[in-house]
Symmetry: D2
Subunit: 365 residues, 4 copies
């Protein structure tokens, strides 16, 4: 009855074991290890990982902070941003073939809840995230459901394709907020905030302003297209933004810091009737001047999670292919997987924006 | 050059002075007083007030609480919900004639700011509210700009017309949230929350649930159409709502209490991807579980202020004329203006829902 | 590797052959026949059909008109509106169990095109429709992909569940147009147009007007909730609608006739800035006064196809469960499958609104 | 009672008569004439016209075609696209002062109909258009209601400001369609279609394709940013567009030709679920394959009229100020008013895109 079979699971290409960066116990740190290559379910595909991005989430898991202790169940292969090549497909897998160059959506949704059945699988009630809830991408191979896989346009460089996950966060936030012809403030220019700058411009923003506590990040923000940048400590911040927006305030806030102070300043800068899209995750409760900042102003506030499946992916590809989004200045480092300790050190130092791990080459390029 | 003149300013109809309920000094209480009838500007109309509703805002001004002390500058005629008859029109007033039976939008917008020029005058940057910033409606006559006046359909009873302002708040909140075919939770069933129940049902809600601390209000909520009501202190509240919504949570929250605790419970009840419209004004900052309640769930949160000019008014009239919104159980008292002390006592007691003052008859009906 | 197996394919319940109403050659008519029970793919389910609705499409296929000759490839089991009980599930089928009482979405979408991947599977580029492109529901059993199956709430009567497909057309049209607080004109009250009347009212329409050429259908339209009905031949039709809408025109048009003349009259009745949702399929090109009817008026015109998967199904269930949509007057006949010739005669006569076939009972009830 | 007076109507600046290009009788042609300077109503302003654009509408009036004969009542000063300087203000005029450099919205709306009161004044039921229904802008002075006047940012060149009316048509069409990250087809690249190209790109379009019958216009389309251009006669047009859009079709159609053939080709190119904004005015009824082109595809079709007051004006200014919309290649000629015959000859020849008349200088620059 089942027409298909797993193809082509040729022994030469798929070994029994693989390298994987793992959390093996309830303590800080990760280890580079040999583990079994994952087996495929009927609709799964097996991907040879070639590049993978390091995310702030990976740092939390490395550091084994409170959030990680609550959420992560070792042992676990870490990593959720990646690209690679399909090397095997389950018998019922559709739309994907061996040899396809792919990235993948890391939110594995249940497919049968209200959200999954109404085009909102990105906020599925039962979502599992690779590298957090199930084995992830810092490994030679990763297993993914066919529906999660995204075939890459040949024009997209490997390193860029590896970070379609965070780039997609930026695109989802920008598109949900709606920036066309509008003035946009971004609070927090970590790697996603930085990506949001060229994304917002390419998506039609008339002006983009960036705010952060880190002058180096603001310098990078200018390089990727911010019209002006501001230190969060600037006491004249709100006045300056009003001055630049005819006294009205900015049309749109993209909140990408997760900082309560930034959220307050950001909301203060948005004009009456404006829109605020919140992507940054505050670790604690946030004290909000709800009446003054949101209700009287008639604001629309959007909680943003993940990427729309797969509207955001189509939008992301369209933006990158249009040539108007340049990630080169944001991908500050490409390092071999073996240099993971150095990579996490760099992340902690604040000197890197986005680091991409190369799982294809043993040596540094 | 100016063709018009003020018509018909007949001395028999418009006396030099009038009765008015006023805040005359920086202290609790109001006094019923004689003051001059207001003069008209070129585009103004003069309205003989016949019925006027008492709002929570009026209670704040009566009590002279912190908010009132900051906002209100005595002397001031109080009151902003009303209906009456036009008795004079300025020479440039358009669309309104003497004799018209009218209500009016109490937000006087500047007409020239970004918001006013883009169909969002309800959140005008320079708005003045009658009965708060300028003289209001608890008086024999009130002056209004022509553009603020709403001609009433003959089928609408006087007492209902008098509360089109708070009814419009309910309609604006319901329509902004979008309730058609959806499950709706209302937190806080004061008079606007109560009005929101039949409004939501008439606007297409599939189910409406009401939450409050006051059992009497919940009893009234059931009478006007709530499918179920819950005391805010019920420890199984969130579970019960999940049970009633197939485990997903409610599609829509209408927050009408201004209570931080209610906001938290309300947001907890809304499903992933749901919508929350916030009308209640929290007196203080609110502590919000932003990540858990809004961001991860992909919620849309709408700050609601006033009524859309005049989309909300058209919607309000359509709903009332359709016969599917019954305000009779909510307007619990109609009292003469002279009984204002009794009226405010009733409001404070929690025994009244909406009290309408009759400015036309000296005696109680 | 595949954990599941087909369950429970018990011989007692699933015979080798079944009764089926089929188009067997390129000529008018259908025959009631014995054919093999369909085999299941890994993600399919087998449903014992209990009730099935007859649609206008089925009439076209019966009559073998030009459209049918172009589209249908005999042999084919006809019928696409149905409900029944799941009797077997493929090994990879998810979310559905044997014994479930179900209806199903008859548009089988490809799952991998742009539309399918962005929440718009109802307009999938490669859609196949049961009873038109693949074997349908006028049979003892039907095979459906698991993702197409809709579990029914126990409160929904069998006959109503059998027509969730056309009811869903009505709901999709009403919800796309957006009727909350609005005045609505429906041109064409065949069975879907009739269903659209209580649906529009339940979804919040302030008023609903029905237009048709058939007085009997208009009489039925009044019974199910139309505020007023009009013969399409009435020369004062547009004036009368303007009179009832304060001279502005109706807010919304739901076009359900497919007639060029009705489309012109309907568009003429819609107010500037209004919305028109077109569900009726004109057999030929339509001559449209594009400048006068659509462009100058700033209209929004929506092409409507099928039902949103599965937003429309959730909305449909919510509306039916709310108790505010009564299909009883619209389902004018329930007849055994063997009476199919009589059923099609009734359809042609215009005396029936919706006919439901009973595939469970040999005799008439 | 009226505080204001007309300021500063100094005799040295405002003469009794002025030059004006007029239609004086029911025949082809226009004459340059001396007429009285218009008197001001209380809320009007008087503007010294400095630059004015020639529109296709002006050509229709010049040629006295069927449309013009039906609509225009001579005598009439023609012209509706302009910029200039405010030289006098009525006593009740607000937000505008003598000396302001301005353009103006040429749709004079009634202010009191449903549309005017709900933020849709651009489709006011009683609109009058300057240069068509009332005296227009090809004159030394023009009278405008204060609410119609738009203060210009100093950075905007005079010639660009003079064509904010057609530029606004392009912006309104682009923003209504929603082009951010999308592929866009424009049918018809007359001056508005040409403007729509940089507008769409600046508003976030990922790709823009232009179609026309005139190779010279297509050449200009490429210069202002079209990714590819096509002759309407190209038999492979639809296939080529499918090839460029992954077989799906374009996301968005901007129809700016008014040609029935272009509308059919354009709709054929749009993908399922796409959007089509229609600005071009077909002179006759249009035969549309409604089922195939709109209904089955689930298209959204938007009739576009004028410019949103004043959302479109804010958007237009934001786009121009962002530096991403360059009108220089589109404004092919600037000629003195006295050269109006030559200007209309140029328009007819198809050799000009947009011609701006200079009413400030007697001689050519």
């Amino acid at each position: 009855m089942l027409a298909g079979e797993i193809v082509p699971l040729t022994p030469t290409r798929i070994p029994a074991s693989m390298r994987a960066l793992r959390k093996v116990g309830a303590a800080p740190g990760l280890i580079l290890d040999d583990v079994a290559v994952p087996a495929l379910g009927p609709s799964d595909v097996l991907i040879r990982v070639r590049r993978a991005g390091i995310c702030g989430t990976d740092q939390h898991i490395y550091a084994w902070d409170t959030w990680a202790q609550r959420r992560v169940k070792p042992p676990l292969i870490v990593g959720h941003e990646f690209m690679g090549t399909v090397v095997a497909t389950g018998p019922a897998a559709r739309g994907i073939a061996v040899g396809d160059r792919v990235s993948a959506e890391g939110h594995i949704s249940c497919g049968i809840c209200l959200l999954c059945r109404t085009g909102e699988a990105h906020i599925c009630e039962h979502v599992e995230i690779i590298g957090v809830d199930t084995d992830g991408a810092f490994a030679t191979f990763i297993r993914m459901p066919d529906v999660n896989v995204w075939k890459l346009d040949p024009s997209i460089p490997d390193e860029w394709a590896a970070v379609f996950d965070p780039l997609g966060n930026a695109v989802h936030t920008v598109m949900a907020a709606g920036v066309s012809t509008r003035s946009v403030v971004i609070t927090g220019v970590g790697s996603i905030g930085l990506m949001a700058i060229p994304v917002a411009r390419a998506a039609g923003a008339a002006s983009v302003y960036a705010i952060d506590v880190n002058p180096a990040k603001l310098e990078l923000a200018s390089r990727v297209g911010a019209d002006a940048t501001f230190l969060a400590s600037d006491p004249n911040l709100v006045d300056e933004m009003l001055r630049r927006t005819n006294g009205d305030g900015a049309d749109v806030l993209l909140e990408m810091s997760g900082s309560g102070a930034a959220i307050d300043i950001g909301l203060a800068m948005v004009r009456n009737g404006g829109r605020a899209a919140l992507l940054g995750i505050p670790p604690d409760d946030v004290n909000i001047k709800l009446a003054e900042r949101i209700i009287f102003k008639g604001l629309t506030v959007l909680g943003i999670n993940g990427r729309k499946m797969f509207e955001t992916w189509y939008q992301t590809e369209a933006l990158v292919r249009s040539g108007r989004v340049d990630l080169a200045p944001i991908i500050t480092h490409v390092l071999p997987l073996a240099a993971f300790e150095e990579s996490f050190d760099l992340m902690r130092s604040g000197k890197a924006a986005k680091i991409v791990l190369d799982l294809e080459h043993e040596e540094r390029r």
